[in-house]
Symmetry: C2
């Protein structure tokens, strides 16, 4: 009954030259060459960085990710599945649900919106987190994202994967509403809105 | 005699998906498709954005740019040459100096460091500005930049030119030292240092 106030949000680490993963990302090299430097702040966080790392999952009751992120992450996430909550994986390839400690992975073949619907249901009033560049962009394109936090890491990767990697977006309205600074990362929170109507 | 305290600095506008120009940039389309949206804040600046737009040139006594930027800009910059101060153009193709109102363009074929040396001389204690993605990256690579301001514009271009576009940088130390917020652009100032020694 509190679904109306719950938010669909995402966070993404980006280098100063605009890459969210290094070149040659694949299973076994999930963040691309040098891309692990994008996420070091998250795992060794102190001060305001620790607050940002913590809030990402603490405010969420469920997570939606893409199949590519799952395939890359299944092994490195280990026996507890890293998320510690229900995860819905958007995919074309059906697979039986998977339980890893406190984390459950449910594979949803019907598309992004049904996956978000299931996540909202399970989150029961808590926020829903969306993770992975491709799914985040799809949410932006379809007007399904309420909030995006960009974690800007001052490194120069030289190549790799950009957030959009292809089609632009003319009508997304991203308004910076909060900046949290640290000597290591600049965290910028954007409120997202779009001109087109959204189903509640 | 105040050269020691003068700073070599740059500023660059980047989209939320990491592009500093849209696709298909060339003379006649200097910022690439849709890239003019990256610079709208600069020309229609208010409040803190106006402060940032103003300081970019106000603190500088000379500018160093690349030939590509000059070729793209010569026509749109108009009769006064836009910069209003001496500009040194790093190029392989010699050309006679060019005066446009208060702006002078001097073409330097000896490379980046001689161009910076000439700019420092002319700036006479004021800062030297470096502009254009390729020259900014070259300055970063060669340890010649002291300060970089990233102006992060919340638009999604979908493709184009990234700051590094190729080779990464392992040893550049970029530390965020100031953030200036506005509803339109997030301005982040980085102090740049490198492990390698620099000639004074």
């Amino acid at each position: 009954m509190t679904h109306e106030t719950a938010v669909v949000h995402a966070w993404i680490s980006m280098s100063l030259d605009g890459y969210i993963a290094g070149p040659n990302d694949r299973p076994g090299n999930p963040l691309g060459d040098g891309g692990e430097r994008l996420h070091e702040w998250f795992f060794d966080a102190k001060g305001s960085d620790a607050d940002m790392a913590h809030e990402s999952l603490a405010r969420s009751g469920a997570v939606v990710i893409g199949r590519r992120m799952f395939d890359h992450g299944e092994e490195p996430w280990g026996d507890d599945g890293a998320f510690g909550m229900p995860v819905f994986v958007v995919t074309h390839r059906p697979r039986e649900p998977l339980t890893k400690g406190p984390t459950t992975f449910t594979f949803v073949t019907g598309g992004l919106e049904p996956a978000l619907g299931l996540a909202r249901e399970v989150a029961a009033g808590q926020d829903v987190a969306v993770a992975g560049g491709q799914i985040v962009m799809q949410c932006l394109r379809e007007g399904l994202l309420d909030e995006l936090r960009l974690d800007l890491v001052p490194i120069i990767l030289g190549g790799g994967v950009t957030l959009s990697d292809g089609e632009g977006l003319d009508d997304a309205q991203l308004e910076p509403v909060e900046v949290v600074e640290s000597p290591h990362v600049t965290h910028i929170r954007y409120r997202v809105s779009r001109g087109r109507s959204r189903t509640p």
